[in-house]
Symmetry: C2
Subunit: 132 residues, 2 copies
């Protein structure tokens, strides 16, 4: 089963960015800091998916660099896919450009891989296992 | 009920952009032209949501201008919201910047409004009625 797990959105200010969703009557999670990624974030559940609003806590964080180059906006789309290892193998055989060649293991043990925007029409696409 | 209706993604080539989803084993709709918007598009269903890949058919289409300015990538996020008229009224009262002040009616009769990226952390946010 394919689903959109979350949209990662790089913002300058969590307070400003989240207010639109609060005004719409949506639930916004408390702010949370992920030190390893140098970001503060809130999650906004949307049906089976979530918006992940990301604010940099340091000028050398990936999110700060992204905003400096591209401005605020969508940073990545995360999609759940069945059989992640099989999918990654097929993509590699077909010459799809991945950000890293190997499946990585993130916080909480979830497995993920990023497909380069050059292979997706400009969208940094994170794939995670839908069985997780 | 809030859900993500679709993500609109501006691409230079439908053929190139859709292939990653085909390689993942996803269903991609036949190509369709929307003359009024000067785009060709394919839809990729993802759970309760869809990816909408958009290729310009003319240099003066919104999508061509977007790509010229920003490059390929996410053009808009469309979210279903309950009670669209009520939501729009609240947003206007709260000073949220909308692209147009009135709810518009699109092809097929669906009602929609766009929230300006300045009010959402850089994302052009389309709101449609979840009852439709």
């Amino acid at each position: 089963m394919f689903t959109i797990d979350h949209l990662g959105i790089a913002v300058k200010s969590l307070g400003a960015a989240k207010s639109i969703y609060e005004k719409l009557g949506m639930r916004v999670s408390p702010e949370e800091t992920v030190a390893a990624e140098k970001v503060r974030l809130v999650m906004v559940p949307v049906g089976e998916s979530r918006l992940e609003l990301l604010e940099a806590t340091s000028e050398d964080s990936t999110i700060a660099k992204f905003i400096a180059k591209r401005g605020e906006g969508l940073h990545h789309v995360c999609m759940r896919v069945p059989d992640l290892p099989g999918a990654v193998q097929r993509l590699k055989q077909d010459g799809v450009r991945l950000v890293s060649e190997e499946i990585k293991v993130g916080a909480g043990g979830h497995r993920y891989v990023f497909v380069h925007p050059a292979s997706t029409g400009g969208v940094l696409l994170e794939l995670v296992d839908s069985s997780h």
